[in-house]
Assembly symmetry: C2
Homo-oligomer: 340 residues x 2
């Protein structure tokens, strides 16, 4: 079987470019006992992957140079020598950016293709949804009537955070990077207010107007000056979940800015960084919460799906331009429907 792959061609300095990636095509070996041949259906692109492209130690190991990039993928078993994963089964896991790949099944999760659209398992029912739930509920701990601010609000994580906060009875303010997103947050997702940080004259004044009772919970996907503006409005005992710092993922030197410690001290606030896997023991609780709300129609979910394996670098680079609404995916192949 011929398979196309995308390798990490060089480690980017600053923003990745087309030269970061290299397409190759190769023959896959014959299947061994216990192995399955997987056809990639949907491939997820996520901001955290930028960190893995650098050599620096981070919370996940760096990608290897000249090896395929890996990430969240939904795939179909098209040939099987593994009884657990028959032909037609659909799986989700951390897999190489390849049109086809071979796996022994370790680390793969079989998913029910009748539960929801397959791509949802890379989004609201996958890592982004769990990230939103765990960070907001386990760190932010929002209480009815409190004010919750989320940055990167129209993204795969932020859009779920805001909706959960609404379900919890909070006033919810989203910060995003286009009028289109602002409308989406307010009109489609029910956010109380949303601010376009690119066009608002003064983010701090806009936030102060949107948060007349201050800020109790801040779910931060972005960092930088947007966060500085939120910090100035923190109430006593505020909670800040630091989920992403996309403002700095392409930074080549350590970012500086106003120090946050004096504010945390004055307000007795808590700030905690996290990665979703920190809460693995509570994924069951989180997943059933999300699935329940989705079933009840309380959670809206938007995807931005590009078509074709060739689109992966473009889809990835688009994450840093602040243009997309919802979860960014690439559809690589059609599901045969054999497992339905």
């Amino acid at each position: 079987m011929r398979a196309r792959s995308i390798l990490l061609n060089e480690r980017p300095q600053g923003m990745p470019t087309d030269n970061t990636f290299k397409f190759i095509e190769d023959d896959l070996p014959e299947l061994q006992e216990e192995q399955v041949l997987l056809k990639s259906l949907y491939i997820s692109v996520d901001p955290y992957m930028r960190g893995r492209m650098s050599e620096a130690k981070s919370y996940v190991a760096p990608y290897q140079l000249h090896e395929p990039i890996t990430g969240g993928i939904v795939a179909e078993v098209v040939e099987s020598r593994n009884k657990q994963l028959p032909q037609g089964a659909v799986v989700m896991g951390n897999l190489p950016w390849q049109t086809y790949s071979i796996s022994n099944g370790n680390g793969l999760t079989q998913i029910d293709p009748n539960l929801a659209p397959l791509s949802y398992h890379l989004g609201i029912l996958g890592m982004p949804g769990l990230t939103a739930y765990c960070g907001l509920i386990f760190i932010g701990d929002p209480k009815e009537g409190e004010t919750v601010v989320v940055s990167g609000a129209a993204g795969a994580v932020g859009s779920v955070v805001g909706q959960i906060a609404k379900i919890k009875g909070c006033r919810v303010i989203g910060i995003a990077g286009s009028d289109n997103k602002v409308n989406y947050l307010k009109q489609d997702l029910g956010f109380d207010e949303a601010i376009n940080y690119k066009t608002t004259g003064n983010i701090q004044e806009a936030l102060a107007a949107a948060c007349p009772n201050g800020v109790d919970v801040y779910f931060d996907n972005v960092g930088g000056e947007i966060s500085d503006a939120v910090y100035s409005l923190l109430n006593k005992f505020a909670r800040i979940a630091v989920c992403g710092q996309i403002a700095f993922y392409n930074a080549t030197s350590r970012p500086t800015g106003p120090r946050v410690e004096p504010i945390l001290l004055k307000t007795s606030s808590l700030m905690k960084g996290f990665i979703v896997s920190d809460y693995m023991e509570r994924f069951g609780e989180a997943a059933s919460g999300l699935a329940g709300w989705l079933k009840e129609g309380k959670l809206q979910y938007e995807e931005n799906i590009l078509e074709g394996f060739d689109q992966l670098p473009h889809a990835f680079l688009g994450l840093f331009k602040g243009e997309n609404i919802g979860k960014q995916l690439v559809k690589v192949a059609e599901y045969s429907g054999a497992g339905r």
Copy 2:
């Protein structure tokens, strides 16, 4: 009765000066029903008081201009029209910087003059001791074998933090501002290592050498570049108790520096600001812990006592020079011993 008072003469810009304070002398009125006349014995000077001298909103209300400064004081009842507080009783409370003052007893705590030296109730058995206990135990949550770093380590709070961490079985590194303090921490208090940040060539290298297994808990009294050096060594799931930011108390503009959020994110670390009163409901637990260790001889305690009411401004300004070891106090008068 004539009483001398120290008023807030003007709000300092940056470092306070002699002109911040004004001494006056006045007659006190006659005692009313329920009132007591108090003779100040020991007066505490603390870094947080700098914040109250500014007009800016903080976690405690600003001092009023041209009114006496207030703070922790141990005083003796020398005349009483209040049955709860007979003549000779010794009390502790937030009282005006006066040689004598009048109180109706509200907010005063009567202390047993036979339990410990009277001045201890402004230190290890008072707010500084409770601050050390609550911040280290309730935020830092140190576990046996972990590495704990404390800045401002020779101060009233830091010296107790490090000793509690040793009792909990941790490796303890103190950061302080003189060789004298470093010796005190290592030889008298049993710290594993201590670093003089003023003379060490490279604080980050010195810390890295002292913390071969990284840093699990950081108790921060200081902020600024010392904290930056500690952050670079944080282990996964580290905890940072932000207790003070003395580096900035006299700052006239918002301090800047490397952003900490990316580090908290990479290490899934928690940072929490606090003031001791946040934990008021757990003071009983904290006080009995401290008193028990003191009794068992597991806690050493050092005081730096200046003599004479006139010394108060000087004692206060000395807090920001990084010269003193242990709790800074001013002794104003001798206890009569009537309540013993």
